[in-house]
């Protein structure tokens, strides 16, 4: 029974992994349409991707939008998280639910809402419009990440700093912020990725000049016109792989380093 479960688990792991890795050989394929195994190999589609403004512009658009979203999200969510984690006040539960709500509403619902709303305020198909919408959608995850970090923060560190002569402001700057730094980075990263990957809302509210990468990919897959999609997929997959593997390796290495010390 146990062995069967473990065996099944290994099979499922293959099911999880295989589709991720298949995009890599596809990107080096000479095939014009979807074909696997590839009929031949080349790197022509990589050259095509990097030289085609129809791909590079949306990529840069998405990077810029995601960067703005991650900064804006952290700036908005940080004070709110301190309020919710460190203070008791009437109405806290409602505020908490409101902050989580963007995660509960299906994106297609918000897509229509943003389409109508941004048209009304004349921000449809503009960068600010996309940034504002993506920021709202990024709030819950950033809040979850940051509040988990803040709850795990040992407040005696702040008391220690005060007892050592640091003013409340200096305590925040020299102790609270540096210790919570990984939490801010993680929250910003979540916001960045959520914006960079967000497809549905962007399909409805981005325009020709503000096209995002997911929108471009969506159109490309839908029309099956462009094999460059395999290149984009591979690059995105490799970026994710680096993002996931690097911290794991870094942790393993630093553990070994500290163990090596006497």
């Amino acid at each position: 029974m146990r062995l069967a479960l473990l065996l099944l688990g290994a099979l499922v792991l293959a099911f999880v992994a295989a589709p991720l890795f298949i995009v890599v050989p596809m990107s080096f394929s000479t095939a014009v349409s979807l074909e696997f195994p590839p009929p031949g190999w080349w790197t022509g589609y990589y050259t095509a991707y990097f030289n085609d403004a129809r791909w590079t512009t949306p990529t840069l658009n998405s990077l810029g939008i995601a960067l703005a979203v991650s900064v804006l999200t952290v700036l908005l969510v940080t004070p709110a998280t301190f309020a919710l984690v460190r203070h008791r006040f009437a109405g806290k539960g409602v505020v908490n639910l409101l902050m989580m709500l963007p995660l509960a509403v299906p994106h297609i619902v918000m897509a229509i809402g943003y389409y109508a709303f941004l048209a009304d305020v004349r921000l449809l198909q503009t960068f600010p419009g996309i940034i504002l919408a993506h920021t709202a959608l990024s709030v819950p995850m950033a809040f979850l990440v940051l509040s988990a970090n803040l709850k795990g923060f040992d407040r005696t560190l702040e008391r220690a700093a005060l007892s050592l002569g640091a003013s409340p402001a200096a305590t925040f700057r020299h102790v609270t912020l540096p210790v919570l730094w990984p939490g801010f980075a993680a929250a910003a990263l979540f916001a960045f990725v959520q914006s960079f990957d967000e497809t549905v809302v962007a399909l409805f509210i981005s325009g020709r000049d503000t096209e995002t990468l997911p929108r471009r990919m969506f159109d490309s897959i839908r029309t099956q016109a462009d094999p460059v999609i395999a290149v984009v997929s591979t690059l995105l997959f490799l970026a994710v792989a680096a993002l996931v593997i690097v911290p794991v390796l870094w942790r393993a290495l630093s553990r070994r380093r500290s163990e090596a010390r006497p």
Binding site: L13, V16, F36, A104, I108, A116, A136, D197, S233
Partner: protein
């Protein structure tokens, strides 16, 4: 003195000052657009409940809703059936192996829906590995893509990491002595899983099912790209109403129904387990 007298209590203005920027932002750029959907559902093109009446009576919309629920249920159960052995293996594996498995799952989790959808187009395409294998065996190449099957498989794959991470969270916390002591008390291996592991994992199962079901209900990208054009899901129909017919009222009414279904399910979860644990 901020850091020292934080838990001052009810009358304090300080938390509200800290919350103000975000609350104003969410009100303006989240609640207002959301409210606009509700308003459009009863006001576009003219005021009235006609869209809701139409949805309830014309058969097509109810059919779509039902199809969507069935698909979401299928995907959720598939995720559970596949996710449990994987999470179980991860929890049982030695540390290094478990970390490697975790890397694969989180990689899938973070990879764009579009990339994973594209991968399934390759896998299930009529010149893909599965079709070729079937042909090599001497059978006629099956039509896999653009069917309910292809979108169900892809959505299962895409949502599986949510289930696995939920289950792993609870399975990892089960005290290793518990299954051992159950075995020492005479439980068979199957009995250990049925009477000890599964009940202790129940919150994680509920968590995973809720997450997957809710995400699947509102799924737009994957069903549109590789699903059957004849058997659409709610989100796809909503998008189509807006994109092709500019029928904002009808789309909004459908959107409100989708939102309501989602909130009802999340509300049920909230009453039983507390919503803040869902995405923990």
């Amino acid at each position: 003195m901020s850091a020292t007298t934080a838990a001052a209590g009810g009358g304090s203005l300080r938390p509200w000052l800290l919350l103000a920027p975000l609350l104003v932002f969410l009100a303006a750029f989240f609640l207002v657009p959301l409210a606009q959907v509700a308003v459009m559902s009863v006001s576009d093109p003219e005021w009235g409940l006609e869209h809701y009446v139409a949805i309830a009576t014309d058969g097509f919309h109810l059919r779509v809703l039902l199809d969507t629920f069935i698909t979401a249920l299928t995907v959720s159960l598939c995720c559970l059936v596949l996710g449990f052995p994987l999470a179980y293996a991860m929890a049982a594996a030695p540390q290094g192996l478990a970390a490697a498995m975790m890397v694969v799952v989180t990689m899938s989790f973070w990879t764009s829906f579009l990339v994973r959808t594209y991968a399934w187009m390759v896998l299930l395409g009529n010149r893909g590995p599965i079709a070729r294998f079937v042909e090599w065996m001497g059978f006629a190449s099956p039509e896999l893509l653009f069917t309910r099957f292809s979108s169900t498989v892809a959505m299962t794959h895409i949502l599986l990491p949510y289930m696995v991470l939920s289950l792993y969270g609870v399975l990892k916390r089960i005290e290793p002595a518990l299954p051992r002591s159950a075995a020492s008390l005479g439980a068979t291996p199957a009995g250990v899983i049925r009477h000890v592991v599964l009940p202790l994992a129940a919150p994680g199962i509920a968590n995973g099912l809720t997450l997957v079901f809710v995400l699947c209900l509102g799924f737009y990208v994957t069903p549109i790209l590789i699903g059957s054009p004849r058997e659409q899901m709610v989100a796809g129909v909503i998008g189509q109403q807006v994109e092709e017919f500019l029928a904002f009222g009808e789309a909004s009414a459908m959107a409100m129904l989708l939102l309501a279904s989602t909130l009802v399910i999340l509300g049920l979860y909230h009453r039983r387990f507390g919503l803040d644990r869902l995405w923990g």
